[in-house]
Each structure stands twice: as structure tokens, then as C-alpha cells.
């Protein structure tokens, strides 16, 4: 019971640290309001409408698409563009990077959890009640599940604009999101199933499948 409390505190601490880091990295508080309409894409939608902006993106040409204007493209030989990024350094940490590191950490923790699993033969010989908390395996498993949830949450917040209904089923970002979410759910299910069982219960298959799903999800967008 005490360990459950500690693990819950650690998980809460991780989540708080992650969000604090993200806020610090972005130098602004994260606006968690999710987009509700296509108008969300435009920062100043009213002014865009007055310029003839059509919020229907499919098959149309949104107002600010480069139309290969004469002054933009008629450079001619020898007139090349120069990047203005000289001296610019990408931030060492950002919401997107935090999502990436959380995902990798989840897979690493899942591997450690698998390695720390108690031996089957040893478990069978035990007469004492089954331990559902307090062991290295259970602590790691709960931390992995918490990390998986944090990964999915940061993905939703920082990559929401990479996933669209109109994109095909095989879109890499869509597959990444589906697999990662399924992986996290499987890990949560495995932890929950094992934690609420007083007798040895098979949960490793689901957990390992979840970790594998997350690994494949990472590879798809790596």
C-alpha cells in the first residue's frame, strides 16, 4: 500500500516535471485548448477571411500558399536565396523533443521491467501471497505505464496538427499515433490486470506486445 502511494507520487512528480519542462522550454504556458474547427489554423482568421481565405483546404489553394510570385521565383541564374538561419540554434529542449525522449524512455523502461520479471519456477514454489507491489518489477511496470501515458499526452499536445481525418490509413503519423496509443493501453491493461490478481496471472504477453507496438511506432517516424 505504501509502495503504491510512493509510485503514484513518483508518477505524479514525473508528469509535473514534464509539464514544467515543456512550459519552460516554450517560454510560454501551454494552451491546452484543442482545435475545434479549421478556423483554428489561422491565427487571425477574421483578417484572413477578408482576404478571401477559404477554410476548405482539400482541393483548394489556401490564401497564403506561395503562388510562385514573380518576385519570388524569377531570380534567374546566379540569384540564389540565402538562409537567414545563420547563428540560429534549435532549442535544446522543446515539447516535441520531450515527447521523443519520453517515448524512448518508455521502451527502455519496458525492457528493464521485462528483465526484472520474477522467475516462473520461483513464483510457483512460493507459498506466500503474491506480491503485487513493492518489487522492482512492479515499480518499473508502473513507472513504464506512467511514462507511456505521458508520451501519448505530449504527442497529442505537440503533434496534434500532424494527424488529420482526411489523410489515408497508411499515413506514417497516423500509424504512429494508433500504434503508440494501443501500446500504452496494452501496458496499462497488463499492469492493472496483474495488480488486481491475488494469484499468478498471465500479463507479460500483453505488456510485451504493447512495448513492441510502441517500438514500431517510434521506428515509423524516427
Amino acid at each position: 500500500m505504501e509502495w503504491t502511494f510512493r509510485v503514484a507520487n513518483i508518477a505524479a512528480g514525473i508528469c509535473l516535471a514534464v509539464f514544467s519542462g515543456l512550459v519552460h522550454a516554450d517560454d510560454a504556458a501551454a494552451n491546452l485548448a484543442l482545435p475545434t474547427a479549421a478556423s483554428f489554423y489561422a491565427k487571425d482568421f477574421q483578417s484572413l477571411k477578408s482576404h478571401g481565405f477559404d477554410p476548405q483546404p482539400v482541393g483548394s489553394r489556401p490564401y497564403l500558399l506561395a503562388t510562385n510570385e514573380d518576385d519570388a521565383l524569377l531570380g534567374g541564374p546566379g540569384v540564389t536565396t540565402a538562409s537567414s538561419g545563420t547563428g540560429f540554434k534549435p532549442p535544446w529542449m522543446s515539447g516535441r523533443k520531450a515527447h521523443q525522449y519520453l517515448g524512448l524512455s518508455t521502451v527502455a523502461l519496458a525492457g528493464l521491467t521485462m528483465l526484472a520479471a520474477p522467475d516462473d519456477a520461483e513464483g510457483a514454489s512460493q507459498t506466500a501471497p503474491r506480491q503485487t507491489s513493492g518489487t522492482t518489477h512492479t515499480r518499473l511496470a508502473r513507472a513504464t505505464a506512467a511514462m507511456a501515458v505521458a508520451t501519448v499526452m505530449t504527442g497529442l499536445i505537440y503533434h496534434w496538427d500532424d494527424i488529420h481525418w482526411e489523410d489515408p490509413f497508411t499515413d506514417p503519423d497516423k500509424m504512429h499515433a494508433r500504434l503508440a496509443a494501443a501500446g500504452a493501453l496494452m501496458m496499462l491493461y497488463a499492469v492493472n490486470k496483474s495488480a488486481h490478481s491475488s494469484v499468478p496471472t498471465s500479463h507479460s504477453g500483453v505488456a510485451e506486445l504493447g512495448a513492441a507496438a510502441m517500438l514500431v511506432a517510434i521506428k515509423l517516424t524516427w
Binding site: N68, A82, S84
Partner: protein
């Protein structure tokens, strides 16, 4: 003990199946599968001639930004005579080389993530002729107000990828590497 053996056997079976599938799959897929190198963006231009000929007039757009069918339409003698309003004719050998390079490295031939996104989104429908017309590209830029692009003397047009994407030449188009001239530290909807 028995369960552990079954697991090892299952893992071996999976590894074998994957190996067989890889052997059957194309070489590029194997490269993508087995590399730890990041392939999240677009394959950078590696050919000097392509870089010199295309980059002589505009940013040398990576072939992975358009599908092969687009390069087929864009890179032929007739089309280059009126290449977006400009005569960009090339001699026959150079044109063939650039055409082949673009087609071989086009979005639908690449395993880089952004190229795959472009490829699956352009499988059906009309052949896109401008990168900025791609649904994926236009959607990613819709969050940026007009004043930051057309109204920005440091940018002027979305066509100048490298004005804001500081690592565009390396094929990196991550949001974290964006630095819009005259609007430093702007980060999309988080700055609303």
C-alpha cells in the same frame, strides 16, 4: 521454464519471419529498417550536379518533396522552356541526369517520413506541380499569418524554404529548427 522456452521460440520465429520478409522486400526498405540514423525528414540532396543546376536559380528542393509523377511532368525539355514562367532549359545529358536523380529519389521512392507522408497523400488525385500546393505542406503552414510570409521582407514567399527552415539544405524541416526572419521565437499556436 516451459513458458520461457516458448517465449524464446516465439521471438526466434518472429525474428526469422522479419528476416525473410526483409529479404523479400526491396533493398531500400532493408536500409530503412536496419538503420538507427534518423530518417524523419526528407533525404538531403547528395548530387552535386542537381545542387548546382537547380540551386543556381532557387533553393534546390529535395526530390523527396514531390512524387515521381510530378518530376516526370516538371523535368522535361518542353516543361523547362517555361518553368514557372522562366526559361530553364538544360542540355540533353544534364536534363536526363537531373530527371533520373529526381525520379529515383522522389517521395514515393523514399522511406523518409515526410516523403512517405507526401507520397501517400498524393497517390490519388491530380499530379501536384508545386510543393506549396501539397495538402500536407499547406496545412503545416496555415497556422502562420500572412504578414509573416508575404508581408515579411525577410521571407516574401513560401517558396523560399530555407528562409525559415534553418536546416532545409540538410532536408530537416522540424518545427524546432524554424526561425522566421523578423519574428524570432514564434512557435505556432502556442504563441497565440
Amino acid at each position: 521454464m516451459m513458458q520461457t522456452k516458448s517465449k524464446v521460440a516465439a521471438l526466434l520465429a518472429i525474428a526469422l519471419s522479419v528476416s525473410c520478409a526483409c529479404a523479400l522486400a526491396e533493398e531500400d526498405f532493408m536500409d530503412w529498417l536496419l538503420t538507427f540514423q534518423r530518417q524523419k525528414n526528407v533525404k538531403p540532396v547528395t548530387d552535386k550536379l542537381y545542387q548546382e543546376e537547380c540551386g543556381g536559380c532557387h533553393f534546390a528542393y529535395q526530390p523527396g518533396l514531390l512524387p515521381a509523377k510530378s518530376w516526370e511532368v516538371l523535368l522535361n525539355a518542353k516543361a523547362l522552356r517555361k518553368h514557372f514562367g522562366v526559361n530553364a532549359e538544360l542540355d540533353e545529358d544534364t536534363l536526363k541526369f537531373i530527371h533520373d536523380y529526381a525520379v529515383e529519389n522522389a517521395a514515393d521512392k523514399s522511406w523518409y517520413k515526410r516523403s512517405r507522408k507526401i507520397a501517400v497523400a498524393t497517390e490519388d488525385g491530380p499530379t501536384p506541380l508545386r510543393i506549396t500546393e501539397l495538402r500536407y505542406i499547406s496545412r503545416k503552414h496555415q497556422v502562420i499569418p500572412e504578414k509573416m510570409i508575404k508581408g515579411n521582407k525577410g521571407v516574401k514567399s513560401l517558396s523560399f524554404c530555407d528562409k525559415c527552415h534553418t536546416q532545409a539544405e540538410q532536408g530537416v524541416y522540424d518545427a524546432d529548427t524554424v526561425n522566421i526572419p523578423n519574428y524570432p521565437n514564434w512557435d505556432g499556436w502556442f504563441n497565440k
